[in-house]
């Protein structure tokens, strides 16, 4: 039996979340096929075919897949599903949006946010904001899962030579229509893929002050993240939110500035390799998970840090 990985891509390239999901699929003793459903997505399919460990790429190219509408993508996956034992999506906004629609139609209990694969039918996943790890076993014929990308090292983008097969597209569902996307363009790395993340919390005090993180992030080539408190206060956009209900990150270096460390925030970053915390409150819970803690006024520490790099 074979695992089908649903690629996340922008038609030109596959996103790194796809590489982590392929790596998870490789842990099963199965073949790995990758579905690239897009519009003008031949380049993405070619990129997927070169990824180490991929046995076949299925390209479905049609206008109704241009914007990743869940109704259409799920229907396409279902058209192919009967050949597979496992269907894996990255646990990203797109994957989480679509995977349950596939699971429902297969009458399968989806396993969300898999962090470890014990066997073909047994998986580990975090619950209660990562305060507990559940091991669950599925008896469903097809196992549908979303993969927490930070829990699996990315598959190498070279070394593979998979065939690209074209499959017929399912019709547009007509249920939903894409209108537009408002995506912030930035030279910074993507939050979930960055080697270094600099995150700010309510301690920054204002949207203007939040921008004080920029020079430090610039010097480190880091992505900027935020606590929910900072997002709720309007200091930072929602898609910067790191935590249980936001992004899960695990960079090489995570610098938390003015973040107290609520359990919901820790759930999103505690698997980072090295954690640095800067906070004026020596009792802040963030220091409980930090490798290096510095008690001080962030308005003095931030410029000093930036200068020293």
């Amino acid at each position: 039996m074979t695992t089908l990985v649903i690629a996340e891509h922008n038609n030109a390239q596959i996103k790194s979340s796809t590489l982590h999901t392929i790596a998870a699929a490789k842990q099963l003793s199965n073949g790995v096929h990758v579905l690239v459903a897009g519009s003008g997505a031949q380049p993405a399919a070619e990129a997927a075919s070169k990824v180490e460990g991929v046995d076949k790429v299925i390209l479905v190219d049609a206008p109704q897949f241009a914007d990743g509408l869940a109704e259409n993508v799920a229907a396409q996956v279902l058209a192919l599903a009967s050949s597979y034992s496992h269907i894996f999506f990255p646990a990203t906004a797109a994957g989480k949006n679509t995977a349950p629609r596939v699971a429902a139609k297969l009458d399968a209990s989806q396993i969300s946010d898999v962090i470890a694969i014990e066997s073909d039918d047994t998986f580990q996943r975090p619950v209660y904001a990562g305060n507990a790890i559940a091991t669950v076993q599925s008896s469903d014929a097809v196992k549908v899962a979303t993969i927490r990308t930070t829990a699996f090292d990315a598959a190498r983008v070279e070394g593979g030579n998979a065939a690209i097969e074209t499959a017929p597209a399912v019709a547009d569902s007509g249920l939903s229509t894409f209108i537009r996307r408002e995506v912030a363009t930035s030279d910074r790395p993507e939050l979930t893929a960055a080697r270094v993340v600099v995150s700010g919390g309510r301690g920054l005090g204002s949207k203007e002050n939040f921008a004080l993180l920029d020079p430090l992030a610039e010097k480190l080539g880091a992505a900027v993240g935020a606590s929910r408190a900072a997002v709720d206060s309007g200091y930072a956009p929602n898609d910067w939110q790191v935590g249980q209900t936001g992004k899960i990150v695990a960079p090489e270096l995570y610098i938390a500035v003015g973040i107290s460390g609520a359990i919901q925030h820790l759930a999103g970053m505690k698997d980072s390799k090295v954690i640095v915390a800067v906070n004026k409150d020596a009792d802040a819970p963030i220091f409980g998970v930090a490798d290096y803690g510095l008690v001080g006024d962030l308005f003095e520490v931030l410029p000093a840090l930036t200068r020293s790099l």
């Binding site: 509408l69 869940a70 799920a74 906004a93 797109a94 949006n97 679509t98 995977a99 349950p100 629609r101 699971a103 429902a104 209990s109 989806q110 396993i111 969300s112 946010d113 619950v127 209660y128 904001a129 305060n131 507990a132 790890i133 559940a134 091991t135 076993q137 599925s138 008896s139 569902s173 007509g174 249920l175 939903s176 894409f178 209108i179 996307r181 408002e182 995506v183 912030a184 993507e190 270094v196 480190l220 929910r228 929602n238 898609d239 249980q244 209900t245 992004k247 270096l253 359990i263 640095v276 409980g288 998970v289 490798d291 290096y292 803690g293 510095l294 520490v301 840090l305 020293s308 790099l309």
Partner: protein
């Protein structure tokens, strides 16, 4: 149009749960229970649609133990008109909840169902999408704005990297993200008024649905503990440690 909102009784978000010694689950005896925060946003969104004259009736639905009636009362205090409890002692997993909600939806015939994007206990984040698929309805997950007009809902969604705006043909499913609204503070008069609103109690068997869990939980354990780090006195020491000890810069 009728709007249904689904609400779940969960361990309060301020409670740090403990894993049971026998690894069978987490200990939720004697801990504070509340409405799932994203569901509160869903009830608020539905209530605002009614206040804006877009919705005629808001029905709050919960699935679970009889104590979920308290959660429904909170929904009624925010502004729902009536409640439906699908009462069961079974451990409910998302697929079972979606099937139960589908049965309620088929009976009530709403044009819109608003759910939280995720419950903060099992963190599954599936129910809205499962329900949409079972009904063959369109969906907009992670909503930060909803506009309803002439048989369509235009929804702004929080996605990776920014926002996306899509239009759904009604009836449809919407799941809520944090920025959709800030739920109102529930006042004492509204709590008193909520006590008089009706709650209908039904059983899964009334719909011919077996809610038994399908995923078997083999064990639940504490996550690995991060070992305590060190405090550094100043920026110079911090930079030195990051360079020579951690070797990350």
């Amino acid at each position: 149009m009728k709007v249904i909102t689904a609400v779940k009784r969960v361990v309060d978000y301020n409670v740090k749960v403990r894993v049971k010694a026998d690894e069978s689950g987490v200990d939720i005896g004697n801990v504070k229970m509340s409405m799932n925060p994203f569901d509160e946003i869903a009830v608020e969104a539905a209530t605002r649609l009614k206040e804006a004259g877009k919705a005629t009736e808001v029905i709050a639905v919960s699935c679970g133990l009889s104590q979920s009636q308290e959660t429904l009362r909170t929904a009624l205090a925010i502004g729902a008109d009536r409640g439906v409890l699908v009462e069961t002692d079974a451990e409910l997993q998302p697929l079972a909840v979606a099937k139960l909600l589908k049965a309620v939806v088929e009976k009530e015939q709403p044009q819109l169902v608003i759910l939280g994007k995720q419950a903060i206990d099992d963190d599954a984040g599936q129910t809205g999408q499962l329900l949409a698929a079972l009904l063959d309805w369109p969906q907009a997950t992670f909503a930060s704005n909803i506009e309803v007009n002439d048989g369509t809902a235009t929804v702004r969604r929080e996605v990776d990297g920014g926002l996306e705006i899509i239009s759904l043909r009604l009836p449809a499913i919407v799941t809520t993200d944090l920025r959709l609204n800030e739920p109102r503070y529930v006042t004492l008069p509204s709590i008193m008024k909520a006590k008089k609103k009706p709650i209908e109690v039904v059983k899964p068997s009334d719909f011919g649905i077996d809610p038994s869990p399908r995923l078997k939980t083999l064990k639940v354990v504490e996550p690995p503990v991060r070992k305590a780090g060190v405090m550094v006195p100043d920026v110079v020491t911090l930079i030195a440690k990051l360079k020579t000890e951690a070797k990350v810069i």
